[in-house]
């Protein structure tokens, strides 16, 4: 049974995020507790037992301070509290809660350090613990990096256990019995002779009691909710059109806005002429906002229509003006002065290549990609009575507060961020652009709530994109597998671009350039992985699975080339060279469920790929058919290891979704630049997977890993290489550039 050390009244809020002294930096500040953000808003008869739990006369609310973008986080995180509190999910309501530093996410930063996610050595663990300090100092309430479950796993269970503990104590006082004689079930404390006191009855007195200094969490064997598939709490509303997304926010006397910003990203607006827009039906006001112009109207469509009549004189972009020039910059960056990292350098690669009879080599390319969640960027802001309220789908509500302070000069206490459901994100809603714009428009309309909605065209052409990138490899292969690999990867720094926009310094190498390339658990005697940084100002960002989204394709296409160069079975070669047991097991599992090695119908073929990302080993097999020279994806199989699956059916959904997201981009995802502007403006040009293209998918979830992991992203990286490898198996054509449809037709 898991025992937590000394827990004080103030610090139990944060679970066992305790550090064993000795760290100088920020230690004092770190030791200061962060105020429970729920206390400031409480009515007299309410009790905020922890920042994750609110009990009042209307019932029990669990606060899940992570963004629901479709990954089921609201259900899974609520289940962590509910399990320890001994309530059912049906008994609670779940709310996102306020933007607060109390909801900092420590796990998300773990990936930023150059220790493989499966490295359990003392140095790696020491650094991981250290991460909890800066995360709290930054107070970063962030949803991303497949980190929500890992971050919450202990602290939200501890919150539930602590609340249960004080509720039992309150009942003991009231009944005049010992706590030992009491048990809890379905939201009530029950005495040995059957007296029942509901948590609602006990909440007020419990709030004045401190929890025990030692709390025991339930062992897995006692779990009633966790580890079992739950009906997601958001699905009935999402199936009846009653779920409220950011774009659905409705306020009294609200007006509607849209905006056009310089399509040369980040460049200035020299001048504009809005005379046509001014007199159009429904138009209330035209306002210049930074490098663009917003129209405020009585209906979103009037705003769309009017904003499109504005004539602009735009400044030119600061980055290379077309795709070819961006690719050239990547090609030119494979030089020592652009070297960003070399986290892996096993054996002596130079010597091994020199002494080899035969060296195989190849070069790979991937394009820019848009996030393109189906709900376009939007936010609602309302400046009234010396306060600012903002409604937005955002992955970093605390950052939205900071931006609002900068714009309005208001104190943080007078700024309220309502985090809404998100119609997808895939990393897009880590940005602040649409929120900043909505606040600035609201400042122009004091007293009136304004909902700003982007057109799809504005959304597609003003993303922060998955970077274009390249990889080169040289390898020496024996009849058993690779003996030497020199693997070089080049791309711009996602961290520098993204953190730069958030005003957070991102010094040092960018691990995302080599993510899921340097840290793969293949045993190769001589293995060197070098990252090269491309320097330009084109805005890029995290796109579902970040660096692994392209590096999975590079690495696993390479492994396939290595296997075929010696006529090795690509599955068996991977299994044989795995040094990490859970990783080997996902490969064995996917081989089994896909029937790897068994006969297929004429014209069918399989490809396999493996990626370890965000601590999750994921192996996928794609089965295709070639029909009239075109590719049809027939079946897909995936095996993943999440350590402990909090909700198996939801893990399966995320793997399916991640896999399809990877396939869609692999087949047709392509963003191009001409004259500094994005050329793809809507879904007819930036195409995505359609129903008829989607394969049947079989998922197996394993639990051999050492700790709990998140699954929002790891399903994506193996999809592209598994498909490309299947195409090679079927046709002998090795496609080394995405999207694949540039080189072969798809049905």
């Amino acid at each position: 049974m898991s025992k937590l050390g000394t827990i004080t009244r103030r610090t139990f809020l944060f679970g066992s995020v305790a550090i064993a002294g000795g760290l100088g930096f920020g230690f004092y500040k770190y030791k200061q507790p962060i105020d429970n953000p729920l206390n400031s808003d409480l009515a007299d008869d309410s009790s905020a037992l922890t920042p994750y739990l609110l009990i009042d006369q209307s019932g029990i609310s669990i606060i899940v301070p992570r963004a629901e973008m479709g990954q089921g986080v609201q259900t899974t995180l609520a289940a962590l509290v509910a399990e320890e509190l001994d309530v059912t999910l049906e008994q609670v309501s779940v709310i996102h809660g306020p933007a607060s530093a109390a909801y900092f996410n420590a796990a998300v930063l773990e990936e930023a350090f150059p220790f493989s996610s499966i490295d359990t050595g003392a140095m790696a663990n020491g650094m991981r613990n250290f991460v909890h300090v800066p995360a709290k100092l930054l107070g970063l309430q962030i949803t991303g990096g497949s980190s929500s479950v890992a971050d919450a796993y202990e602290k939200m269970r501890v919150s539930g256990a602590a609340a249960r503990n004080v509720l039992v104590k309150a009942a003991a006082q009231q009944l005049g019995v010992s706590t030992n004689s009491l048990r809890t079930e379905n939201g009530s404390v029950i005495s040995s002779n059957g007296e029942t006191l509901s948590y609602l009855q006990l909440a007020t007195s419990a709030a004045a009691i401190g929890p025990d200094s030692e709390l025991q969490l339930k062992p897995k064997s006692a779990w009633k909710i966790l580890g079992k598939s739950q009906n997601r709490i958001d699905i009935p509303a999402k199936s009846t059109g009653t779920a409220e997304f950011g774009i659905d926010v409705d306020l009294p006397n609200m007006v509607y806005a849209s905006i056009r910003v310089n399509p040369s990203l980040g460049a200035a607006m020299n001048s504009y002429d809005a005379s046509k827009a001014q007199g159009m039906r429904g138009v209330k006001k035209v306002v210049a906002i930074d490098n663009g112009v917003a129209v405020i109207a009585s209906n979103t469509w009037y705003a769309f229509k009017a904003v499109n009549t504005i004539e602009f004189d735009w400044a030119t972009a600061d980055y290379p003006l077309d795709t070819a020039a961006h690719l050239k910059a990547v090609e030119d960056s494979f030089t020592s002065d652009n070297q960003d990292s070399q986290f892996r350098d096993d054996g002596d690669v130079e010597k091994a290549l020199e002494n080899a009879d035969q060296v195989i080599s190849a070069e790979y390319k991937v394009p820019y990609l848009a996030h393109a969640p189906l709900e376009p960027m939007n936010a609602t802001a309302w400046l009234h009575d010396g306060k600012l309220e903002v409604w937005a789908g955002t992955q970093i509500p605390t950052q939205a507060v900071k931006e609002a302070v900068k714009i309005t000069g208001l104190e943080p206490i007078n700024i309220k961020i309502h985090t809404t459901l998100m119609g997808g994100s895939f990393g897009r809603r880590l940005e602040m652009d649409y929120i900043i714009q909505a606040i600035k428009v609201a400042v122009e309309m004091p007293g009136t709530p304004v909902k700003l909605t982007w057109t799809r065209e504005e959304d597609m052409t003003h993303d922060n994109y998955r970077p274009i990138g390249m990889a080169r490899f040289k390898a020496v292969v024996s009849d058993k597998g690779p003996t030497a690999i020199d693997f070089q990867l080049a791309g711009a720094s996602v961290n520098a671009s993204q953190m730069g926009r958030l005003g957070i310094p991102a010094a040092g190498p960018d691990i995302t350039i080599v993510q899921a390339a340097w840290d793969q658990p293949y045993g190769v005697e001589h293995f060197r992985v070098t990252g090269y940084r491309v320097k330009n100002d084109f805005p890029i960002s995290s796109w579902r699975s970040v660096g692994a989204s392209q590096n999975g394709f590079f690495h696993e296409s390479m492994m396939d080339e290595i296997a075929h160069s010696q006529s090795l079975d690509p599955m068996q070669m991977r299994i044989d060279s795995m040094t990490h047991e859970p990783s080997r097991k996902v490969l064995e599992a996917v081989a089994e469920i896909s029937g790897w090695g068994t006969d297929l119908a004429e014209g069918h073929a399989r490809g396999v790929a493996f990626s370890l990302s965000f601590g999750v080993p994921a192996a996928e097999v794609i089965e295709i058919a070639i029909i009239d020279g075109k590719v049809k994806i027939v079946n897909a199989f995936a095996a993943v290891d999440v350590g402990t699956a909090m909700d198996p059916r939801n893990v399966e959904a995320q793997v399916m979704g991640g896999l399809n997201f990877g396939l869609a981009a692999a087949i047709m995802g392509d963003i191009n630049i001409n004259d500094g502007q994005i050329q793809e403006t809507n879904f007819h040009q930036y195409r995505s997977m359609r129903f008829y293209q989607a394969p049947a998918i079989k998922v197996r979830v394993l639990e051999n890993g050492d700790r709990v992991r998140g699954i929002g992203e790891p399903g994506t990286p193996p999809a592209a290489p598994a498909l490309a490898n299947a195409i090679f198996a079927a046709t002998g054509q090795r496609i080394r550039e995405l999207p694949l449809s540039k080189h072969i037709g798809f049905i």
Partner: protein, 169 residues
């Protein structure tokens, strides 16, 4: 002008070329139909016009005339779901959920005319609707469950209820 939505008549005063979607969303506060692309490429805005699925983002409100509009709100509610909506919940289809009103409207129209669609027929009917979360496998499963439940209802002695339950006529 007057439009009929979910069995109710509404007077609206808007530009005649305003797409139906924006009349529903911003004038009538009917938020089930979603804005995704504005050019009938994603079909998150799908509603029924006289029982047929149409992209409301691309239909001028003046073209609706006396036609009967049904939105996702007209199919059922969380407490009283239609057969198709219930199948969506049973299969836990939604992830972000933004496209699902459109998916459900398209599937409902399909099942209203064909309660035993083949895989190919499902492919053809559903391929105009985009889902960026990749929920397609579960959408297919939910359509099959809904179809089977509809056939059962059709065969039952009282057999009046169909997939288009709640649709105004």
């Amino acid at each position: 002008m007057k439009i009929n939505v979910n069995g109710q008549s509404h007077e609206v005063d808007v530009a005649p070329e305003m797409p139906l979607l924006w009349v529903l969303r911003d004038e009538l506060n009917i938020k089930g139909p979603k804005f995704g692309c504005g050019i009938a490429q994603c079909r998150a805005c799908t509603v029924h016009l006289n029982g047929q699925p149409i992209p409301s983002c691309s239909l001028p409100v003046s073209a609706v005339g006396d036609g009967k509009i049904t939105t996702i709100e007209g199919l059922g509610s969380p407490d009283a779901m239609s057969v198709v909506q219930a199948a969506w919940v049973e299969h836990q289809v939604a992830q972000c959920g933004y496209c699902q009103p459109g998916q459900i409207m398209t599937a409902t129209a399909l099942l209203s005319s064909n309660s035993n669609p083949s895989d190919d027929e499902i492919d053809t009917a559903m391929s105009a609707n985009l889902c960026r979360c990749g929920t397609y496998p579960r959408i297919r499963a939910a359509i099959k469950t809904a179809a089977s439940n509809i056939r059962e209802i059709e065969l039952s002695p009282t057999g009046a209820t169909t997939a288009s339950e709640g649709e105004s006529t």
